[in-house]
Every structure is written in structure tokens, then in C-alpha cells.
């Protein structure tokens, strides 16, 4: 509802302007002043430029740049479009049709920084504003593949040095995941992880029409600020870049994520098939709990898994991946706690027996959980599905060994921190 109110408020603010002025967006302009509605350098769209445009040899067509676009004017027609690349000393007329569409071609020198200027003049003699469409144009001799690799290396550098602002400079506004989630995930990554070291090995680059996909394997190590533990993972993943007027920009990432691990579900566009089932780094942004979890088949279903050993009166919490020493009795603070002859569960945990092994179980049952304060018939070789409130959250437990005389318990588990039943 709040969003609806915001939209209504914006409409109220803008509608009077629309009714008062036919061209309400023309702040401080005359309708006889020409303007550019599109401007392209070969396949690169440069609708709005601030800092300039950088091209690579891949962006050239037979060594040339073809400038295409359209100029329009409220009153009259476009009579002339002129371009200069030598700081205004010489202006050349572009080919122009009666709709204001124009083309102009030139062969740039590699590495030369051109001051590109373009102006449109209407048939009534009015020109676009001075310096309105001036910007620097540079053609680097580096090819797209090398530029994509170089950009990826710079992003790794920014990430390992916790430079969020520098990192986001390489992210496209048309990033296919949630760009706000990515920026927030970086804050959480840098908040909960330190000593970040990543060794990425690019195995191949494939490109098509300005899109570059980098396939890589990585070795990564981080230290959890919360637990002080070092965590290492190795997997394969993919990042995608697109050539833009401002250089190579990140447009998509696949899971397992190399950046922004604290919010994989909202950032990753898809999952790298080669990584499914491998243990990868997961980070809960709310608790700061970092662990290694199995990469699921969808980015939002990255469950954690592991083997845990507990002695008498020790409890284990799936969500925080932590062990606590507790007193005897059924008042359990963690999720599961062994004692002599019984394995207690927390109040609010329901459980039921399932078929072993849990490695071949991909989802927890939807119903049938018994709200008892212990696991029924807990012994080695038995498997259980657990439903835990609040949430509910789901876990699968396989008892590897349980010494009823001493209370020593070893179990394998899968846990789904996203709240789903699929693992």
C-alpha cells in the first residue's frame, strides 16, 4: 500500500505540470531547440554520457566507427547534423534524411583520446546547446575478451579489499539480478567476513554481440568474523559482462556466487551445473553465520550440510551452526541435544522418521511431524525430518552413531536456511 501511495503522490506532483505545459519535461528549453533522441557508436548505445566512451577493436566495423542517431526539433525540421573530432577545428556534415536520422563514419586511431562533438541545427537556424553533446572517445587496443578478464580481475581486487564503491562502478544498471540486493550483500559480506582471498582461474571466455561470459574455477578462503573459523571452498562459476559506452560492466552472475554470497537467491540469475552438489560458502546476513553448504539446483535452495558430533548435554543449532553446553533435561536451547538414552529436541520442533540415507532425499515431507520433545527410537542408521518453529525451517538428520550409555552422538544433516522444504 505504501508503494501505491508513493506512485499516487508522484502522479499528483507531475500531473499539474503536464496539463500546464505540453512539453513538461523541457525544463528551461525552447521548443525550437533541436535535441538528439538517439546516438549509437556501432552497436553501442550512448543515450546518456557523462564521462566518455571507450571502445575496443571488437566494437569496430572493419576498423571504423559508424555513428548513427536521430535528431528532432519541436518547430521546423533538422537541417544539418555536424560532427567534430578535433576539438571543434573542423566540422563535418553527417548524412541526414528527412526524419532527422543521420550517419557518419570515421576510422579512429588506437589509443588516441578524441574530443567528440556533435551538434544539430534546425531549418530555422537554431542549434543544440554548446558543449551539450561533447565527450571523450577513446579506442583501446585491448580486445573485448582481454577487457572482460581485466574487469573481472579489478572486481576481484575491489572485493578482496572490501571496496564496495569501487566494485559497484563495474556493475551495469541493467544487472539481471537485484542490484540493490547485490549492494547490500556486499555490506554484509564485508561485515561478517575478513581475510578474503580468492584465486580465480578463468577457463574460457565466450562472446556474442558484445556479451562476454567468463567461465572460471576458484579457490576461496574467508574468515568468519563471528566464529573466527577459516572456511575454504572450490567450485566452478560464471560471470557475464556486457560492453557499454563506459567500458565492460557486470550484467549477471551464476551461483555459486563469487561476490555477494550473503544473498545468493536475489543476486544469482542461474546455477552453474558443474557446481551442483559441491560444498560452497554460505553466509546468513542476519546472524553472520558462515558455513559450507551444498549448492542446490536453484540459487534459492542452497542448503547447508555436514556431520556433527555432540557429547552429553551439548546442543546444536542448525541456523547459527553452533554448539552450546547446556544442563540436563528437556529444556533445550539448541535444536537437538543428546543425553543418556534419549535425544532431546527443542520445544517447537516436530520430527518424523524418513527413509535413509538423507543424501538421496531432496525434500522434507509437507506434513506428519510429531511434536514430541525427543527423537523417537533414535539409534544408528535412523533418519529423521525435522520441522522447526518459528519459520518453519526444515532439516534432515541421519544418525551415524549414538552411544546411549554415554550420550555421544554423531549425525549427518542437511538444513535449508531459506525456509523451503527442498534441499
Amino acid at each position: 500500500m505504501k508503494s501505491l501511495k508513493t506512485i499516487i503522490l508522484l502522479l499528483i506532483l507531475f500531473l499539474p505540470n503536464i496539463s500546464a505545459h505540453a512539453a513538461w519535461w523541457e525544463f528551461g528549453r525552447e521548443s525550437s531547440e533541436p535535441y538528439f533522441t538517439s546516438l549509437q557508436f556501432n552497436s553501442l548505445d550512448s543515450a546518456r554520457l557523462d564521462d566518455g566512451i571507450v571502445l575496443s577493436p571488437d566494437d569496430l566495423q572493419s576498423g571504423s566507427i559508424v555513428v548513427r542517431g536521430q535528431a528532432q526539433v519541436g518547430r521546423g525540421d533538422i537541417g544539418l547534423v555536424e560532427i567534430s573530432i578535433d576539438e571543434g577545428k573542423k566540422w563535418e556534415a553527417a548524412k541526414l534524411d528527412d526524419r532527422g536520422m543521420f550517419t557518419w563514419e570515421f576510422k579512429p586511431e588506437m589509443g588516441r583520446d578524441y574530443l567528440f562533438q556533435i551538434r544539430a541545427i534546425s531549418t530555422t537556424g537554431v542549434s543544440t546547446g554548446a558543449e551539450e553533446n561533447d565527450f571523450h572517445l577513446l579506442v583501446l587496443s585491448i580486445n573485448g575478451t582481454a577487457e572482460a578478464k581485466d574487469t573481472f580481475r579489478k572486481m576481484l581486487d575491489a572485493y578482496t579489499h572490501k571496496n564496495r564503491s569501487g566494485f559497484m562502478d563495474f556493475v551495469s544498471n541493467s544487472f539481471e539480478g537485484n542490484i540493490s540486493a547485490l549492494e547490500d550483500a556486499l555490506v554484509d559480506d564485508f561485515r561478517w567476513l575478513d581475510s578474503i582471498a580468492i584465486q580465480a582461474n578463468i577457463t574460457r571466455v565466450v562472446s556474442n554481440h558484445g556479451v562476454f561470459e567468463l567461465y572460471f574455477t576458484y579457490n576461496r578462503q574467508v574468515r568468519s568474523m563471528r566464529s573466527g573459523q577459516f572456511l575454504k571452498d572450490s567450485a566452478a562459476s560464471v560471470v557475464g559482462f556486457r560492453r557499454t559506452a563506459k567500458g565492460m560492466k557486470l550484467v549477471r552472475m551464476s551461483a555459486p556466487l563469487i561476490f555477494g554470497v550473503s544473498d545468493t537467491a536475489n543476486i544469482a540469475t542461474y546455477v552453474t551445473g558443474q557446481a551442483v552438489g559441491q560444498n560452497v560458502l554460505t553466509l546468513d546476513p542476519f546472524t553472520g553465520s558462515a558455513s559450507l553448504g551444498s549448492q542446490g539446483e536453484t540459487a534459492s535452495a542452497s542448503s547447508t550440510s555436514g556431520t556433527q558430533f555432540l557429547t552429553l548435554n551439548q546442543s546444536y543449532n542448525f541456523d547459527t551452526d553452533s554448539v552450546a553446553n547446556e544442563g540436563p533435561g528437556p529444556a533445550v536451547q539448541g535444536d537437538i541435544k543428546p543425553e543418556v538414552g534419549v535425544v532431546f529436541t527443542r520445544n517447537g520442533v516436530g520430527a518424523q522418521g524418513i527413509t535413509c540415507p538423507i543424501s538421496s532425499t531432496t525434500s522434507a515431507p509437507a506434513g506428519g511431524y510429531l511434536a514430541q520433545p525427543y527423537l523417537l527410537n533414535a539409534q544408528a542408521g535412523k533418519c529423521f525430518a525435522m520441522e522447526m518453529l518459528p519459520g518453519p525451517m526444515y532439516a534432515l538428520v541421519e544418525i551415524v552413531s549414538y552411544n546411549m550409555a554415554t550420550g555421544d552422538l554423531t549425525f549427518r544433516y542437511k538444513y535449508q536456511p531459506s525456509g523451503g522444504r527442498n534441499f
Binding site: Y35, V187, F190, D194, T217, Q221, T362
Partner: protein, 534 residues
């Protein structure tokens, strides 16, 4: 491994046989050889990330370009690798990339590593296989088809014993695109299937799917309207359960417009929870609306706004639906103080995460100030960035208020010319003050980075950098400090034909509140880039 060696040898023979026959064709071999030596010391050295041995890593890019084959223009690109470091590859030799391209005025044929590029929902993936495109007149009207294996590495095709190899997956499709001056439409059909009988399947699910998709783009003066609509039909065969048939759809409409000084981008997308794309990309179970607008009042002032909303759990598989909303507005003032490069950005953002059942809410308010400019005749560029975040999280009946401050200063110098050398440098300083939810006090992280370079006109380079990272955490025993120093020099002797030799030594010192974890890494690397070209 012997197979890979033979292929490498075959590539070389192929290269040599053509090099003597056709003069106008370009033959090029770019070689990268790295000699690595890591030394790890300290009580916590087992924590080190590196393999504490001397290693070699070599890659060769072999390229044959503009090879005339009748009416076709051919090229071959392959990258082969040798390494004795298991951190990079369990195999000593491997083919990293192998691609063959044939083109004539109307046709393209690709084989080997091919980018299967249909549409973003249906297929956009690097595969190993074949691709063909026939253009009707220009490259905006074409039919494109592709098929191959999704194997990530060539070794998976040759060496079936690789432990990290996943189940075989094959797929491809066809795309037909037609275009006029204003309108472009594309029809796509993708098909992907796993090989259920593959010995590498393990306990994985098996998928078989078909995915038709239709995409379009309409361009008019100052605006682009585009969209894609896809439907997936997937047969899912779980390892220990009965098969399921999953059907889902995905729809996206994107608007990008520029009306003189006003620019508007909008995006609406819905992806159902059972929409699965094995070759393309989509985040299932989402509805998303996004709009970005900016309004350039004149050359000095610009207003911008961003609204983003999405919510998940369309099929209510999870316990509750969650809605995320972000609203941002700001202003940019350029050309301050008479400087053409200056820009001051002030923005405010509000972000919320709300569960439908009210069990938890999170709100984050951000104020951001950013100023960038150049000084000393544009030789020095600098950026100042400050953010203040106020977060309020509610879970059940308890509220948590946390605030964060983020500072960042970045300074770069274009360089002084001293004789044939150009000296340049960069400085980065950042600080994070993050309120710890356990102690309610601020955890402070500092980052400092200084780098200096001297570049010679002959391609030689000398440089050094120093990094300092410090984390002062209010939870006892969790703090850490890292110091990293790097020194390197690069020479570019003419005998290497544009190649170079870079030698670098870096020392990384990691210290922790728990001193038993301390360790130090000394990394010596010699990187040789050398080229052969004809």
C-alpha cells in the same frame, strides 16, 4: 592426459602445416608462463590459502586468423594449458578453449566452444558443440541454430575418470529473427536433457525440458520497448522419487525512453515458481517492478529516482511471502567550483523487507554523499564517498536498531613525466563502522591502499603497493589485521615480440587476536608473456 598431449601436438602440426602454405593468413601463439613459489610460515600456516611449493603454470593461445577456405574465411582459436599445481587443475595438461569459426557474407559456422545465444530466458550459454547462422540480407534477419554438450571442461569429454565431472547434459535450439527499421522479433525454441544413465549422475535429479520463447523490441524516436515471453515444460526425475511434470512461464517487459532531458527506464517481470530454464537465466518465483528516472534540468543539475519492488514465494512453498521494496531519490550537481569534472551526488534510499505474516520486518534508510573532481590540470582525480545507514529489524516482538557509517576516499594521479618514465600513483582509504548486533557497539574496519608505478616508454614498468586491513571487533577475540606488500618490475624486451617478463614478490602478513592463527605468506612469481606471430 595423453589424449590432451596428442591434441596439443596436433594443434601445433596443424599450425605449422598451414603456416608454410598461405602467406596472408595470421598465425599467432600467445604464451603465458608463470613460475610460482609460495613460502608459508607462522603457527597458523595451515590456514593459508596457498600451496606452499614451487609450481609452474603455462598457457598458450594458438590463433589462426583469416584463413581462406574457398569462399569462407576461417579461424581457429585454442588455449592449451600445462600446470603441476592441483589448485588450478587436477590434470597436468588440458585444453581450455577450442573454437573454429567459418564465415562468408551470409553464413557463420562455429564449432567447439560456442556461445549458444538464443534469448535470455531460453538459452544464453557457452557450450561445446556446433552453431550455424544464416543471414537474410543483413545480420538483423537470420536463422541461428546450435547444439552441444554443457560440459564445462574439455577434459570431461575425453577423461571420464574426472571426479569433479557432473552428469552429462545436452542441449541446443533454434532462433529465427526478423527486423524492420522499428521492430525486431525473435522466435526461439530450446531443448535440454540430462543423460539419466550417466555413471556420474550420483543422486542428482534428471531434467528434460523444452522451452519456447518469443522476444521482441520496438524502437521509436527516443524510446525502446522490448519484451520476452517464455514457457517451460520440464520433466523432473528425482533420484529417489517419482517423476514430475513442471510447467512454468516467464514474462518480462522493459521500457527505455529518453525525452529530451528526461530519461525513464522501466522493467516488469514475473517468473512463476515452476519455470525452469537450464540454458538461460531467470530467478524463479518472483514478481518484480522496477523504474528508474532521471531528469537533467540543465548542464548543472540532475534529479534521479529509483523504485524497485519484488516479492517472492508465488506458490507459497515457503512459510511466508516476502516483499522487498526500495525507493531512492537524489540529486547530482555538476560543474561545481567551475570544474567541468566535478559532480556532487546526494541521495536518500529507503529499503524494506516485509513478511506477509508480519513475523519479521527490516527497514534500512541510507543517506549517501559522493563528490568527485579533478585537480591540478586534471592530473589528479579524487572521489569522496560517505554513507550513513540506519537499520531497523523486527523479529517477533523484538526490535533491533543498528547503524552503519561507511567512508571511502580514492585519489589517483594521471602521472608525471620524468624523462622517458611516467610516474603515477593511487591512494584508497576506506572505513566501515558497523554496529554489532551482539554488543550494540561499533565494529571498525579500516582499509588503506597505496600504489606507485613508473612506466617507461619501452613498456618497462616498476611498481609497488602496500595494503593495510584492520578489523577491530567488539566481540573479544575476533579482531584481525592484514598487511600486504607488493613489489614488481616488468620488462618488455624486443625479442619477445610485444611480450613481457614480470617479476613480483609479495608478502602477506595475517595477524589475529588469537595469535595461534597468525601466519605469513611470501609469494614469488615470474610471469612471462611471449608471442610468436607470422
Amino acid at each position: 592426459m595423453p589424449v590432451c598431449r596428442n591434441i596439443t601436438l596436433a594443434s601445433a602440426v596443424f599450425l605449422l602445416s598451414f603456416s608454410s602454405a598461405i602467406a596472408e593468413t595470421t598465425y599467432q601463439v600467445d604464451n603465458r608462463t608463470a613460475l610460482l613459489n609460495y613460502t608459508i610460515t607462522g603457527p597458523g600456516k595451515a590456514q593459508s590459502f596457498y600451496d606452499p611449493k614451487a609450481r609452474i603454470y603455462h598457457e598458450s593461445d594458438i590463433q589462426i586468423l583469416d584463413l581462406p577456405l574457398g569462399n569462407w574465411n576461417g579461424s581457429l582459436l585454442t588455449t592449451v594449458r600445462y600446470t603441476d599445481s592441483p589448485q588450478y587443475d587436477p590434470n597436468y595438461t588440458s585444453i581450455q578453449n577450442l573454437a573454429i569459426h567459418l564465415t562468408d557474407p551470409q553464413n557463420n559456422i562455429d564449432a567447439g566452444d560456442v556461445f549458444a545465444n538464443l534469448s535470455s530466458y531460453s538459452m544464453m550459454k557457452g557450450i561445446k558443440g556446433v552453431g550455424f547462422q544464416h543471414n537474410f540480407g543483413d545480420d538483423r534477419n537470420y536463422v541461428r541454430t546450435t547444439y552441444g554438450t554443457f560440459d564445462g571442461q574439455w577434459a570431461y569429454l575425453f577423461l571420464n575418470s574426472r571426479v569433479d565431472e557432473p552428469m552429462d547434459r545436452f542441449g541446443g535450439g533454434i532462433r529465427v529473427q526478423g527486423a524492420t527499421d522499428d521492430l525486431t522479433v525473435g522466435a526461439n525454441f530450446a531443448q535440454v536433457a540430462d543423460r539419466a544413465g550417466d555413471s556420474k549422475r550420483g543422486t542428482s535429479n534428471v531434467y528434460r525440458q523444452i522451452l519456447p520463447a518469443f522476444d521482441w523490441e520496438y524502437r521509436s524516436a527516443g524510446m525502446v520497448l522490448s519484451g520476452e515471453h517464455a514457457f517451460s515444460r520440464t520433466r523432473l526425475l528425482p533420484y529417489a522419487s517419482t517423476s514430475q511434470s513442471l510447467r512454468g512461464s516467464a514474462n518480462r517487459i522493459v521500457f527505455r525512453g529518453r525525452f529530451r532531458a528526461f530519461s525513464l527506464n522501466g522493467n516488469v517481470e514475473q517468473v512463476t515458481s515452476n519455470f525452469i530454464t537450464l540454458g538461460g537465466g531467470a530467478t524463479p518465483d518472483r514478481v518484480r517492478y522496477n523504474a528508474r528516472a532521471d531528469w537533467r534540468l540543465d548542464r548543472q543539475w540532475q534529479l534521479f529516482g529509483n523504485y524497485d519492488q519484488f516479492y517472492n514465494n508465488l506458490s507459497k512453498q515457503l512459510s511466508t511471502r516476502t516483499r522487498y521494496e526500495t525507493t531512492e531519490a537524489g540529486i547530482i550537481r555538476r560543474h561545481l567550483f567551475g570544474s567541468r569534472a566535478s559532480a556532487l551526488t546526494i541521495s536518500a534510499r529507503s529499503r524494506s523487507k516485509l513478511t506477509d505474516d508480519g513475523s519479521s520486518t527490516g527497514r534500512s534508510h541510507r543517506l549517501r554523499l559522493k563528490y568527485k573532481d579533478r585537480a591540478f590540470n586534471n592530473a589528479l582525480n579524487y572521489t569522496l564517498d560517505y554513507e550513513r545507514l540506519l537499520n531497523k529489524d523486527k523479529s517477533g516482538v523484538s526490535n533491533t536498531y543498528l547503524s552503519n557509517n561507511l567512508y571511502h576516499l580514492s585519489v589517483g594521479h594521471r602521472g608525471y613525466n620524468i624523462g622517458e618514465w611516467k610516474l603515477s600513483g593511487d591512494l584508497d582509504f576506506g572505513r566501515q563502522e558497523l554496529q554489532n548486533p551482539t554488543t550494540a557497539k561499533f565494529d571498525v574496519s579500516d582499509m588503506l591502499r597505496v600504489s606507485l608505478r613508473a612506466n617507461g616508454s619501452d613498456g618497462n614498468e616498476l611498481g609497488a603497493s602496500y595494503d593495510l586491513g584492520s578489523n577491530r571487533v567488539t566481540v573479544a577475540g575476533s579482531g584481525s589485521r592484514q598487511n600486504r606488500g607488493l613489489f614488481y618490475f616488468t620488462v618488455a624486451p624486443k625479442i619477445l615480440h610485444g611480450g613481457s617478463i614480470r617479476s613480483e614478490y609479495s608478502l602477506n602478513d595475517y595477524r589475529f587476536d588469537d595469535v595461534t592463527r597468525n601466519y605469513r605468506e611470501g609469494l614469488l612469481q615470474v610471469l612471462i608473456n611471449w608471442k610468436l606471430k607470422k
